[in-house]
């Protein structure tokens, strides 16, 4: 009996201790209604050390797990850009000392590592991410700690954050040019094939809106989970729908399965060409000769004739562990580091608020391999040229279409009257 009551006492004591601690803390924490918390950010002062002759930057890419397939290259090109910048004297005279972290294809890990880079390693900015999930995991963390995150991949748009810079295309720089290209080709019947996740779903929602305006009929829409390669059932539906073009928003190795099923079913590039937004020079070799003759919409291609592109390709080919070919996402990652350099040098400081203020000038530019890009200080995206390439037997792209000028970034599609204003308003509201 005595043991029982003793145990009860222990338990009660433990419970009481926990509750007390919780209550004491609750008293300190900000609550929803507090005026002080209105902004939401009460970030501790930055711990970035700018006193030495080097500056720490964080690179965050999946080096293991499924996304390592794509993100290893981005990580490598960031290293190359850092080496180049260091060889040229660094940023504001400080050498880049980068810390590479592995996101491990795990989104909470992206959040954790971002926080580690910002608060433990005290890096001045973080570069990386690939999937939208990884970006969404990082977003609240950089906002909370008022850090900087440079995201290098084309994405579904409808987002902006004071703490994120987007150096890949938003929808009006990749999807809309692709649709314009299809319109010039006289496409009437379009089929949408995508992986079942946010980017293809959003892209296709936009495509459908724009197609209505262009008079292109959408004859079908199919999705397969990201990790499934077998497209035979869906391709049978494509055959039945008889489209004259296929808009492909499939991502990853599922593309290989799609192309194979497509050829198995007797479709080919002459009768039913495909335009993709995620097959680049990196991905094409894994698909063999079957991908030849199809199209892709990107801002950068290795075959682009710009003043800076040859040097970029040359450096990359010589870089250790390089894949030997350059492609859009890695070029965007390359831009991101140089863009940061330009921003810091314009601000004359590594301080986040000063960097953001410098961006507002709308005068930050970089002579990128895709051409001279300009940063939009309001939405933190960059202007980009639209290009359509056709895949040749060497898995390179012949440029068949180019936008007449650099396309200004427009993540909320404000310059497009066919995009319903009420949706835009709700989206902007929701983003806060």
């Amino acid at each position: 009996m005595s043991t029982t009551s003793k145990r009860l006492r222990t338990l009660t004591a433990l419970g009481a201790l926990g509750t007390t601690v919780a209550l004491v803390l609750a008293g300190c924490g900000a609550r929803a209604g507090d005026s002080a918390s209105a902004g939401g950010t009460s970030a501790a002062p930055s711990c970035v050390d700018t006193s030495g002759d080097s500056i720490k930057l964080g690179f965050l890419n999946s080096l293991t797990g499924g996304m390592a397939i794509s993100e290893k290259t981005v990580s490598n090109v960031l290293h190359m850009a850092a080496d180049e910048i260091n060889a040229g004297g660094g940023i504001l005279g400080k050498k880049i000392a980068y810390i590479q972290e592995d996101g491990a294809t795990d989104w909470p890990t992206f959040a954790e590592k971002t926080e580690k880079l910002l608060t433990q390693d005290c890096v001045a900015a973080v570069f990386g991410g690939w999937t939208s999930s990884s970006r969404k995991a990082v977003k609240p963390v950089v906002e909370k700690h008022n850090g900087l995150f440079f995201y290098p991949v084309q994405y579904e748009g409808l987002e902006s954050s004071p703490n994120i810079y987007y150096t890949g295309a938003t929808t009006n720089q990749q999807i809309i040019p692709a649709m314009d290209f299809l319109a010039t080709k006289g496409v009437k019947r379009l089929f949408l094939a995508g992986s079942d996740y946010v980017f293809p779903r959003t892209a296709n929602a936009i495509i459908k809106l724009y197609a209505a305006k262009l008079g292109i009929q959408i004859v079908g829409e199919e999705y397969v989970p990201l990790d499934k390669d077998d497209w035979t059932s869906q391709v049978a539906k494509i055959v039945a729908a008889k489209p004259d073009f296929i808009f492909n928003t499939i991502n990853g190795s599922s593309n290989v399965g799609f192309i194979k099923a497509y050829y198995d079913a007797g479709l080919n590039a002459r009768t039913t060409p495909i335009i993709s937004v995620s097959i680049a020079e990196e991905e094409a070799p894994a698909m063999g000769h079957e991908v030849t003759g199809h199209y892709a919409s990107w801002n950068y291609f290795q075959s682009l004739k710009t003043p800076t592109n040859p040097k970029f390709i040359e450096s990359w080919k010589k870089y250790p562990n390089s894949s030997g070919v350059t492609s859009d996402p890695m070029e965007a990652a390359y831009i991101s580091l140089y863009l940061y350099k330009a921003l810091v040098e314009a601000a004359g400081s590594f301080d986040v608020d000063k960097v953001n203020a410098a961006a507002k000038s709308n005068a930050i530019t970089f002579d990128a391999p895709e051409g001279k890009v300009t940063l939009d200080g309001d939405n933190h995206h960059i202007s980009k040229p639209g290009h359509i390439g056709q895949i040749n037997p060497n898995n390179q792209f012949d440029i068949v279409w180019a936008s007449d000028k650099f396309i200004e970034p427009d993540p909320y599609l404000e310059g497009y009257d066919w995009f319903p204003a009420d949706i835009r308003k709700q989206l902007v509201d929701a983003a806060g």
Partner: protein
């Protein structure tokens, strides 16, 4: 000696609680407190797995399902709390005029959410467990089926973007039951709740293990048919352990959300569900502290080794499965006993044929 043992364990829980609730907040930075909070969530799940697998013999490879129930219930509430009267942003694009999906509505209420975190896993695991155990689905079948369920749920969530946020999941929570999440003091509060729940789960399991039910569970694990011939329905015994483990997975999931700030299908699918088991195997599936400490060790390994040597970490994780299961089936927590036994008598204890036979039976039939 045997009389004393449970009290030593209780003392251990006390020390553990003191370290987690008292010492950790004083000596660790905010970042590591947050990490520790995440490990605590995994540890809560692991304690449940230890109960179901270590003591009950049910290899639960689909705890992601119950983790998801708790996590999404919490995340839906936090999303609505952040969105206020508006419809969450990700829903707008697909159908701007449609209202909030009906199943989201009740999650506006904090009370309902908390109730759902407890009741949903109990109901789902109760139905599932009843159906499977009554039909005597066990062993590898049970493991594979539970894993298949986790995969199916992850796929379903990925493809229902408007209803669940899809593969990018739910994130960007501003408030936690009225508390501003960005406030470090509130983050600490969330951590303390998670750590406190872990201690509560350990206490619950401690009592369960030393109760008659704990003995009956072990008996069911080792010789299910024999238990049946004692007049018990082993299905009910297993069901209770399974439901308890599902509840813990749900609680772990629910706390995971405010601590980590994002929940996506990737956290509940096959790989995630298997990773939840890794720590349990490492620490010792049948011991009281093994699963929790193992899960925390794996989490810590991912944080620290994953930083310094990412490729190596994957190999280490693979080797960990192999070496621990092959040479130390009862995990690291069995090491002291092994050393003690080795010192006393050089011959290792013989494997228990009854258990092996029962397990083989479970696999085959």
């Amino acid at each position: 000696m045997t009389k004393l043992k449970p009290w030593i364990s209780l003392g251990g829980i006390g020390v553990f609680a003191f370290l987690l609730l008292g010492v950790a907040p004083l000596v660790l930075t905010d970042h590591w407190i947050n990490n520790l909070g995440k490990y605590c969530c995994w540890a809560i799940v692991a304690v449940g797995i230890g109960l179901a697998w270590g003591r009950g013999g049910m290899l639960v490879m689909g705890q992601g399902v119950f983790f998801a129930l708790g996590a999404y219930a919490m995340a839906m509430h936090l999303t609505l709390e952040t969105a206020g009267d508006r419809i969450p942003g990700f829903m707008v694009l697909y159908d701007p005029l449609a209202p909030l999906p009906a199943f989201w509505e009740p999650f506006r209420s904090a009370g309902f959410t908390l109730l759902a975190i407890v009741l949903l896993p109990v109901i789902v695991s109760g139905i599932l467990g009843y159906a499977l155990f009554k039909r005597r689905v066990k062993g590898a079948y049970f493991a594979i089926l539970s894993q298949a369920l986790a995969v199916a749920l992850a796929t379903l969530i990925s493809s229902t973007i408007r209803q669940t946020g899809g593969d990018t999941g739910l994130s960007d929570f501003k408030y936690f039951f009225g508390f501003v999440l960005n406030d470090p003091a509130n983050k600490l509060l969330v951590y303390l709740i998670a750590a406190g729940l872990l201690v509560v789960c350990l206490l619950a399991v401690w009592q369960l293990y030393r109760s008659r039910f704990g003995e009956l569970l072990v008996a069911t694990r080792d010789a299910e048919e024999r238990v049946r011939f004692l007049g018990y329905d082993p299905a009910n015994v297993k069901l209770v352990a399974f439901v308890a483990s599902a509840l813990m997975a749900s609680i772990g999931g629910a706390m995971f959300v405010p601590i980590v700030g994002i929940i996506t299908p990737a956290e509940i699918g096959a790989a995630a569900s298997i990773l939840m088991i890794a720590g349990v195997a490492l620490g010792g599936r049948a011991s009281l502290f093994g699963p929790a400490l193992g899960a925390m060790a794996v989490g810590w390994g991912q944080s620290s080794l994953g930083s310094t040597w990412p490729d190596g970490w994957t190999y280490i994780l693979g080797l960990l499965f192999i070496v621990v299961i092959l040479f130390l089936p009862n995990g690291l927590s069995s090491l002291p006993a092994r050393f003690a036994a080795a010192r006393r008598s050089p011959a290792p204890p013989p494997p228990t044929p009854a258990a092996a036979a029962a397990e083989l039976e479970g696999v085959r039939s």
